[in-house]
């Protein structure tokens, strides 16, 4: 937002200098060397007439185009360059995961809180009994396991997956960023930390899901194939499954939903999960370091290309 206001100011300055150039050119066309023998009074009259026409145009321009609000809107509404944040593969993983997780929560929570009226309503009235709801839960589980395996493949086989996974690994800078944020919240810093591709918030989200998948899939399999395991392991699996299920649900509903739905920056929803893109503004605002990197890499590439072209040109000569 700040940037756009600055840009509006800049454009205003540009426009003014452009117009004054025009006036100068007009003046130059009026007072030509070959007109030297004309009477001074005649020339002066023409200049006045033509300049007053220019001035009227200038005035109109100023009133309509130079209003800062209009300029600001023009800049803000102008189609921006987009940056792809999530590729198709990653968006597919996210979509399949949240569909599975929603199914799992709906069919799982009633068994964590069976005495609530709504639990019985969901299991008995909506799904038509425990056998159906546990079957649907297992279908959701298959979806989640599939995503888990797919993701492991993605972070090892895919180049983007590998790069993103490496960037996801927590580093000391994240702890610094975290404290920086806290200082910013309490007013001890004037601005928040600048993030790269993944902020500590996103890393926390990712690793919470990672840990959750390990616990939920592991304990779920023990319960699914309970006949293969001793009863005490089943008990442990059930306890962990139920407790982690609740923790994960609350973390999603409170934390993830705050960050992607209810946060004033994105309310009512960030659509990046759907189209995968961020605008230049969003990049500058949320991932300034990554943005800077991209721009730097681009300009480097352009310079290299130009150098190559120049090289080729000088070789031809």
């Amino acid at each position: 937002m700040e940037d756009n206001k600055k840009l509006a100011q800049q454009q205003r300055d540009n426009l003014i200098s452009e117009l004054s150039d025009n006036i100068l050119k007009t003046a130059k066309t009026i007072v030509r060397p070959e007109d030297g023998d004309r009477k001074v009074g005649e020339i002066a009259a023409e200049i006045r007439q033509r300049l007053s026409f220019e001035a009227n145009v200038l005035l109109n321009e100023a009133v309509t185009r130079l209003s800062p609000a209009r300029l600001y809107k023009e800049i803000t509404d102008a189609p921006q360059r987009t940056f792809q944040r999530f590729g198709k593969n990653f968006r597919f993983q996210h979509a399949l995961m949240f569909i599975s997780v929603i199914i799992l929560i709906i069919t799982g929570m009633p068994l964590k809180f069976p005495t609530l009226g709504i639990s019985k309503f969901i299991v008995v009235d909506v799904f038509g009994g425990l056998e159906n709801s546990t079957l649907i839960h297992r279908i959701g589980a298959v979806g989640l396991i599939f995503v888990g395996v797919w993701h492991l493949g993605y972070i090892t086989i895919s180049r983007f997956g590998r790069r993103d996974f490496l960037l996801m690994i927590p580093r000391p800078g994240d702890i610094k960023d975290f404290f920086h944020t806290l200082m910013f919240f309490v007013g001890r810093r004037s601005s928040g930390p600048k993030f790269g591709r993944f902020s500590f918030i996103e890393k926390f989200d990712y690793w919470a899901v990672y840990w959750g998948m390990v616990i939920m899939i592991g304990s779920g399999i023990i319960m699914w194939f309970k006949e293969w395991f001793p009863k005490y392991l089943y008990d442990i699996g059930r306890e962990a499954h139920s407790d982690e299920g609740l923790l994960a649900t609350l973390a999603i509903v409170i934390w993830h939903f705050y960050n992607v739905h209810f946060n004033p920056d994105v309310f009512p929803m960030s659509w990046v999960w759907w189209h995968g893109n961020l605008t230049e503004d969003e990049m500058k605002h949320h991932h300034p370091l990554e943005y800077a990197e991209i721009i730097e890499a681009e300009s480097k590439r352009i310079i290299e290309q130009q150098e190559k072209l120049e090289q080729a040109g000088s070789d031809e000569k």
Partner: protein
């Protein structure tokens, strides 16, 4: 008194007053020990009534004809069956105890069988006695708590034999009056077939019925037996499934048996460690169950320190969940406060 004078008196009473014959008149014949009839089958049925029995019963003040209302003259036709509800109905004038019990009986498995015409089905007298109805608080009563299994056992003899060897029957035998008898589980007048949902021993209600003693308010606590059994069952998947109206799932009786419930350390018990795999492995339950599957405590309470690793996992998750959520909440609130302050500062 000599017989002839009795007969004269009896005739006089009958002819002159037309009133019902008095007890002592009946005893002219029924007081004789060899008074009997021969049934069509040739069976000899004694018709002797011991006067002292009636005097001891709660009906001591009643006359024979108060119950045998069809007898109005002597000699009489074979007496019809006595209907107890002639007096025991709501608002009866003689003050006979009444209540829902009679309706309950009529809807019970016993009452319905009688209504169907099953000659073996019990009527009031089969349990309460005919001439010898006495209070259930008198030890001689068939309904004195300790005598109930024997009373029911007169018809349900195999069940009685099984029950006597069970942990409940043995406890009762050893003089423990808290031990459950037939009626503790099945009810008294409202005994229903276990298949019916309203039955106290139906799969839906059996947990409640057992928890009357084994639940938190249970009487078993004074014998050092755990009363968390129903709570741990309810928290188990079996209990949850039962709450969700799945009746396939194991209830107390599925594992412990019902009439043959035995102590954990009894090798014949279905929950004796060596027998557990078989108990779990019933064809409808977990046919793949083996010794490994069945190893570990069954009634396990994650909130009790005795549960070991399970307790620490449960505690660990509690601490983790509370601290993570508190942290996230604080972060979100700080973020929102910062935004609100920034927005105010701008304006």
């Amino acid at each position: 008194m000599r017989p002839w004078s009795m007969i004269v008196g009896l005739l006089a009473a009958g002819l002159l007053t037309g009133q019902a014959v008095a007890l002592e008149n009946c005893m002219i014949c029924h007081g004789k020990k060899d008074h009997h009839k021969i049934e069509a089958s040739g069976k000899r049925v004694s018709l002797y009534v011991d006067e002292t029995t009636i005097e001891k019963s709660v009906h001591a003040s009643r006359k024979c004809t108060d119950c045998h209302v069809d007898i109005t003259e002597i000699p009489h036709q074979p007496a019809q069956k006595v209907n107890c509800r002639r007096c025991h109905y709501s608002g009866n004038p003689v003050g006979a105890p009444q209540g829902e019990l009679y309706d309950q009986y009529e809807h019970s498995v016993h009452g319905l069988e009688v209504a169907r015409g099953n000659p073996k089905a019990p009527v009031c007298q089969d349990c309460h006695g005919g001439h010898d109805v006495i209070s259930h608080l008198i030890p001689e009563s068939g309904f004195y708590r300790e005598n109930i299994p024997r009373t029911c056992g007169t018809c349900h003899i195999d069940t009685y034999a099984t029950y006597r060897e069970s942990v409940h029957g043995m406890a009762l035998d050893s003089g423990n009056v808290d031990a459950p008898v037939c009626t503790s589980c099945h009810g008294e007048h409202n005994i229903e077939r276990p298949e019916l949902p309203e039955s106290k021993v139906s799969p839906i209600h059996v947990t409640e019925t057992c928890s009357e003693c084994h639940g938190p308010k249970g009487v078993v606590a004074k014998y050092g037996i755990k009363t968390d059994r129903t709570a741990t069952f309810e928290e188990s998947f079996h209990g949850v499934a039962q709450l969700m109206e799945n009746m396939m799932v194991a209830n107390c009786a599925s594992c412990h048996g019902y009439h043959d419930i035995r102590a954990e350390d009894d090798p014949k018990s279905s929950i004796y460690p060596a027998n557990i795999p078989k108990t779990c492995g019933k064809p409808d339950c977990h046919p793949e169950a083996n010794a490994n599957f069945a190893s570990g405590k069954i009634h396990v309470d994650p909130t009790s320190e005795e549960s070991g690793l399970l307790y620490y996992i449960s505690r660990g998750f509690l601490v983790l969940t509370v601290s993570v959520l508190a942290g996230l909440f604080i972060y979100i609130i700080m973020d929102l406060v910062r935004r609100a302050r920034a927005a105010r500062g701008k304006r």
